[in-house]
Amino acid sequence: MNATSRRVVLHFPRDLVGRSIVCRLVKEHDLEFNILRANVTPREEGLMVIELSGSPDDLDSGIAFLERTGVKTQPLTHDVKRDEERCTQCGACVVMCPSGALLKEADGSVVFDGESCIACELCVKACPPRAIEVHFPGLYEDVWPGNGDNGREK
């Protein structure tokens, strides 16, 4: 079975920030990982943008393990949004993107491939009409049960 990669945003509640959880993805679920971003928020919760690689089955079991443990997961594409109405297709962002998530088509239009995005945010400020937004729920918004929408994709 071929290895695939998935980029997810993980929310660690306060009581889990001190525990080592990510390494169990390697030991118990045979996954490789690449941490793209890691923060402890002002409310002492953990926010991590991580790329996990492995077989689709291992990725599923790894994600399931995280969620069982109390870590909320969400695909990265949910956090990086391009407002297609506001985007003027100028292309200023394309040359800034280090991971090839923003590309120019032959007709000059700009496409955003969420799968390649590493949420570095270099495009956000380079965009003149400010059409790109990166919001990590939990950093500035309350995301725990009863509040807001995690936008989790199954």
Binding site: C90, A92, M96, D107, G108, P129
Partner: protein
Amino acid sequence: MAKTIEEINERIKKGEAVVVTAEEMTEIVRSDGAGAAAKKVDVVTTGTFGPMCSSAAYFNVGHSKPRIKIGGGTVLLNGVEAYAGLAAVDVFIGATALPPSDPRNAVHPGEFAYGGGHVIEDLVAGKDLRLSVRTYGTDCYPRKELDTYISLADLNEAVLFNPRNAYQNYNCAVNLSDETIYTYMGVLKAGLGNANYCSAGALSPLLNDPLYRTTGIGTRIFLGGGVGYVAWHGTQHAPGVKRGENGTPLAPSGTLALIGDLKGMKPGWLVGSSFLGYGSTLTVGVGIPIPVLDEEVAAWTGVGEDELFTQVVDYSDSYPNLVPGSLGQVSYAELRSGTVEIRGRKVPTGSLSSIPKAREIASTLKSWIESGDFLLTEPVAGLPCADSGHEFRMLNERVASV
């Protein structure tokens, strides 16, 4: 067998005019030749959608009770500084104006999130804007303070007036230094990290009328989604710049001052924009129709991007310090390919001007003309031409003592 604008307009009124976009014309001229193209095509439409900092709007808000004299006082629109130097209730706002409290580059690079360009966009979108005035009173205009909401519909005249738009060609900007720089040509990565350019190329209005033969004062155009006119030559108009064999300039050259009724325009074609570390501006949509009078005009509108060139300029040192010279000449076809060779290196290119939007403008103008609703105009006066001696000079600094 030359055509006149009058003849072309007669065909437009009858719904018989053959109208193509500049990109379509390039194909036609390449396959059929300029002579055949000139017989077949009546109008070529062009378009461009890019940041144009010398853009502005002026309007009349109507009198308050009691009257107030904004001129000579201070006026803010949604917190952005507008100009209070006209008559009592005439207000002028420029695209690069900022709120007094905007930190600008105090923490570099500044964001410039909201400025005059954004105010103009909000106005066109029909939003309510806060107008705040503080001024001295007079016997006839006794009021000194005003805080009110206004929207486009409330205004008497609302005019888009852009002292410099539609630059005929522009530099390709690079950064030779060791640190990222933040410019009006976007973020430029260190060590020739990227090469940014800003032109609609084959669709560009003045690159299709390189010697200003058909475009002049009074030319009717597409401006900001509505109808506008060429009012004057733009600031920094430089017709005498070196040109290639096809007449197109090899460096930034002509410019246009444009005017139109803001109430007829649409927010998607006037977009407030922020350039990190540089400032706020307005991205403007402009489209100019070119009457194909003869083979000469057909040839100019048939020029393709492999025949349009510009200069590579270092924005880290040469540009700020007025050091003349270029790092090389590149074609727009090369720039569009995604990489260009500079100093033996393959440098990724970045565009600032939207080709999809430029194409949409040219198509929209084409459909306006085909519908018979948009007639071409004969310029009432020409723009300063290539051998007029009109130049863009640098400042001759004559230091004034304190």
